[in-house]
């Protein structure tokens, strides 16, 4: 009896990881272009974008690590969860989806919650784009295999909607988790330890 919810949870974890990996990929690509632009021009606006993107990528990587650890049942996870619950009270509450203006006045800083939520929303958009492409092809030339693909995509879309709707932790806890693990990743990097990184195009 317990296997079906378990399988659903597993699939949603897969989708959450996929969402973060896709977003990391996209941000990594933006970063590559901005870094190249900054290296050539030295313009401040490019530097501000590079800094902002690096921060976003750092927090997304941290969240990716947390998701991976949740799936593996990592031994350190309960400690992180306890720390996050304890430290969350010190984090000022932010509006869901709220954004703060960067000090430069040009860039906008996304809260950790918005950052992750946008990654899930972007995956939803991507899946819907795929669904539209398939539906259009099915409308023009119907096939059974495409029909099955459409059904799979629709199920995935339902799961991503559930992820966005109910499976994100409280914004303050999420902020603590992202910042905490981001710092751990930075320290590991300084110490020359191997980093648990998602596959991304950052160069």
């Amino acid at each position: 009896m317990g296997t079906q919810p378990e399988a659903g949870r597993w699939r949603r974890q897969e989708l959450a990881l996929m969402a973060v990996e896709h977003r990391l990929q996209a941000l990594g690509e933006y970063l590559a272009v901005y870094r190249a632009s900054y290296a050539s021009s030295g313009e401040g606006r490019h530097y501000a974008r590079v800094r902002m993107l690096r921060k976003d990528i750092g927090r997304l990587r941290a969240w990716w690590w947390y998701l991976q650890a949740t799936r593996r049942g990592a031994s350190w996870l309960p400690l992180v969860d306890r720390l996050a619950s304890a430290l969350a009270i010190f984090v000022s509450p932010v509006r869901r989806g709220g954004r703060r203006r960067h000090s430069s006045g040009m860039m906008r800083h996304l809260t950790s919650y918005s950052l992750i939520e946008r990654a899930y929303a972007a995956l939803e958009d991507d899946l819907q784009g795929q669904l539209l492409t398939l539906r259009l092809a099915q409308y023009q030339r119907p096939t059974d295999s495409r029909d099955r693909d459409i059904t799979v995509l629709q199920r995935q879309l339902g799961e991503v909607a559930a992820l966005r709707g109910s499976e994100l932790p409280d914004s303050r806890r999420l902020t603590v988790i992202c910042h905490l693990l981001h710092r751990v990743l930075t320290v590991r990097h300084w110490l020359g330890l191997q980093l648990p990184l998602a596959n991304m195009v950052d160069r």
């Binding site: 690509e29 272009v33 190249a36 050539s40 958009d125 784009g129 539209l132 160069r203």
Partner: protein
């Protein structure tokens, strides 16, 4: 049909290039309907996907092609790693007397299917962006799309040989730096084989 009619004005209120997220913002609380509406528009041929399956669209207007600005906007929304290369970069920087017939850009995605008229996408390996950065190979942007410097555009065309370049006589060589050309060529040299293998 009723729903489609009710939502018909939405197409007018959208810019020439838009994403599914833009459409959803016009229909708050009716995200599923946004998908249905987009599908109806696609079926009717009033919009096209810029690069299927990416959720970015452009409106099809009979007798009115997309301008440079809208084309660049559409490409930027579909391909984050976009960089303009080859004769397209030379022409837009005033170094070529011959104009490109296709806007050529490089991306890191393997899927190069693009429905935008007058656009050609080429694949480059991930290390290409590092090489461009190390060589300082970006010369500003054209409607937001980063452009290679003329020297880097020449070196890239020589290394990958999959892009259009103007005739030798049509290029203003006086404005090119031999030192920078040599540096750019050196940076792209290690990538030559990668590019050729993938092009095959």
């Amino acid at each position: 049909m009723l729903a489609a009619n009710r939502l018909a004005p939405a197409l007018e209120s959208l810019p020439r290039v838009f994403s599914l997220a833009d459409l959803k913002q016009l229909l708050p609380g009716e995200e599923d309907q946004a998908l249905d509406v987009a599908l109806r528009w696609l079926e009717a041929g009033v919009v096209k996907q810029v690069a299927p399956p990416r959720p970015v669209f452009f409106k099809v207007v009979l007798g009115e092609g997309l301008g440079d600005e809208d084309t660049c906007r559409a490409l930027l929304r579909a391909f984050p790693s976009l960089v303009m290369v080859a004769g397209s970069a030379l022409w837009r920087q005033g170094l070529s007397a011959q104009r490109d017939t296709l806007l050529e850009c490089c991306v890191s995605e393997r899927e190069l299917n693009c429905h935008l008229p007058g656009v050609a996408l080429r694949w480059r390996p991930p290390a290409w962006w590092s090489a461009i950065r190390d060589a300082g190979g970006i010369a500003g942007d054209h409607h937001g799309v980063a452009m290679l410097t003329p020297e880097m555009a020449l070196a890239d065309a020589a290394a990958f040989r999959d892009v259009w370049m103007p005739d030798r006589d049509a290029v203003d060589w006086n404005r090119l730096s031999t030192a920078r050309l040599s540096e750019a060529t050196e940076h792209l040299l290690p990538l030559r084989d990668t590019g050729r293998v993938s092009a095959d």
